[in-house]
């Protein structure tokens, strides 16, 4: 059913917190996502024409890079983009078949590949470009929040995290329950001023982004040491200094 669930207050809202201050833009999250998910819950993630010009494929995670601001205040920011598991996901409500759904128990947005008709309307309805059509299977694919890792009891507990989070060498990605105000991710969002992408769309993303930290203010430029004439020991140089200072 593509009507949204009505979660009780305090219900789990699993999601990611992405730190734009520490992300180095290495694309490891995107690569490990592809690696895990091509044999995961919504497998495969096909590639088209992979060994020639025009290679492209289905990815759940895409890492952009931006310049923001001008001159000295300008920053280069690496920006991973994936499904935000919104609280008001129109991608779910527009689905005519019920293949798209939002789980009541943890808020994860998923697609049932057995009932998806590949109409593409959900991809149109997503402002963030989180959904990509698998043109081999004719069905829509999207981030599953690694649902086959986070609840997977055959994995060591420390590895029950999304592949993108586990692999991030800069620890710029954090996974947790954003519905619990005392969770580590919720505290991180409070402390660092985490924000929503395109809040004006009204989709209420669960995933939050942490802004780049303010740059430490630069002090006054160092003054060049200017020795006084009497400090110059060499008489010849003292004379040269006097002549040039005239």
């Amino acid at each position: 059913m593509t009507s949204l669930p009505d979660p009780p207050p305090g219900a789990k809202k699993l999601g990611l917190v992405i730190d734009l201050d520490t992300c180095v833009g290495c694309h490891a999250c995107a690569v490990n996502c592809k690696e895990w998910n091509t044999s995961g819950h919504l497998a495969p993630l096909p590639d088209f024409n992979p060994y020639a010009a025009g290679a492209e494929g289905v990815w759940f995670n895409r890492v952009h890079a931006y310049e923001a601001g001008e001159g000295e205040a300008g920053r280069t920011v690496h920006f991973p983009r994936s499904c935000l598991h919104c609280e008001q996901p129109a991608c779910v409500t527009v689905c005519p078949t019920g293949a798209s759904y939002k789980r009541a128990e943890d808020g994860i947005v998923l697609v049932n590949p057995e009932t998806c008709i590949g109409c593409g309307l959900c991809a149109w309805a997503c402002p963030y470009g989180a959904r990509e059509l698998d043109e081999d299977a004719g069905v829509m694919k999207k981030c599953t929040l690694c649902i086959d890792r986070i609840y997977n009891e055959t994995l060591p507990e420390a590895e029950r995290q999304p592949a993108c989070v586990l692999t991030c060498p800069a620890r710029a990605r954090h996974f947790g329950d954003l519905g619990d105000p005392e969770s580590a991710v919720s505290r991180l969002v409070r402390e660092r001023g985490g924000y929503d992408l395109m809040p004006e769309m009204g989709y209420r993303p669960v995933n939050k982004y942490l802004p780049p930290r303010r740059r430490a203010a630069a002090g006054a430029p160092p003054q060049e040491a200017a020795p006084r004439a009497e400090e110059i020991a060499n008489p010849l140089l003292r004379w040269v200094d006097r002549v040039l200072s005239r």
Partner: protein, 313 residues
């Protein structure tokens, strides 16, 4: 947005078919179109042929067309599902209307004609709402989009009925209605284009990334060197010069010329009227195809904000 031929053809043809069904159901009881059964049967069959061709064309857009029946299940939340339900449901009174016409049951024909007209209007309304409910596409989420779909369906349907009527010497009422709807469509489309051209975008690269606090945001490196589904589907851009010309074509061929031809047909009568009305209906459909193509080609999706402006084309 990519103007997929299957959807452009679907919305244009089915719109015209539903418009024809609507006017047939409404005008026949009022005695404003030729009252004989063969005329009504011909009009009904043309309407159903257009609608069915359109619906079949829409299946070509699906990744898994064999599962299309599943789209009838989520009418509680999805306008696409509602459109499917309305489209299928409209076949019932339309089929019964055909039966009533063949059996020459006057009251039954009136009843099912009116029900079919209601179903046709509901289906086109749902079509419009599919687009008008999508927030990421600001050109579609506009108050004139649904009135547009309804007006253009009414116009093309009335033009087709005027054409059929003209061959029987009774196309004056639908021709007059097509002139009104065509003039309305002309004004509406111009107002719509003026509105979307001047409206500031709701979202920007600054709000899309949240980096506006640092200043203006420019895409530096794209995430992928080749294109992808998002850019092909949502990044379609039409050259501004072509858009301006195509708008002129849509206005002239789609609305102005058919209105003028139908006005001439009103005065001409006879075989000349039939020829003029046929030309008007054909031009109207052609213009509406251009209009519908532009409806997609000029629509912008917020996902393109994440990419450099040149990547989207």
């Amino acid at each position: 947005m990519r103007p997929a031929p299957s959807i452009v053809v679907f919305t244009t043809l089915s719109g015209a078919g539903y418009g024809l069904l609507f006017w047939l159901g409404l005008l026949r009881p009022l005695g404003l179109v030729p009252g004989d059964a063969p005329f009504a049967v011909a009009a009904l069959l043309l309407a159903l042929a257009l609608v069915t061709a359109g619906l079949l064309s829409s299946l070509a857009h699906l990744g898994r067309p064999e599962r299309a029946w599943r789209a009838l299940s989520q009418w509680r939340s999805s306008w696409l599902s509602r459109e499917g339900v309305a489209a299928v449901a409209t076949y019932v009174p339309a089929g019964l209307l055909l039966l009533a016409l063949l059996l020459e049951r006057r009251a039954m024909a009136t009843l099912f004609g009116l029900l079919a007209a209601a179903g046709a209007a509901a289906t086109v309304y749902c079509t419009g709402m599919i687009y008008a409910s999508l927030r990421p596409v600001r050109e579609w989420r506009h108050p004139l989009v649904v009135p547009g779909y309804l007006t253009f369906a009414a116009f093309s349907g009335a033009a087709l009925l005027a054409m059929l009527g003209a061959f029987r010497g009774g196309g004056a009422a639908p021709a007059a209605l097509a002139i009104l709807a065509g003039a309305g469509g002309f004004v509406l489309k111009r107002a719509y284009w003026a509105a979307i051209d001047s409206a500031p975008p709701a979202s920007t690269p600054e709000t899309a990334t949240g980096l506006g606090v640092l200043g203006a945001v420019r895409a530096l490196d794209p995430p992928h060197t080749e294109t992808n589904y998002l850019l092909r589907e949502m990044g379609f851009r039409i050259a501004r010069r072509h858009a301006a010309r195509l708008r002129l074509v849509a206005l002239a061929a789609g609305f102005a010329a058919p209105v003028a031809l139908l006005a001439l047909a009103l005065f001409a009568g006879g075989a000349v009227a039939a020829a003029l009305a046929t030309l008007a209906a054909a031009l109207g459909l052609l213009g509406l195809l251009v209009e519908r193509w532009l409806m997609f080609a000029e629509a912008t999706h917020t996902v393109t904000l994440y990419y450099p402006p040149a990547a989207a084309r």
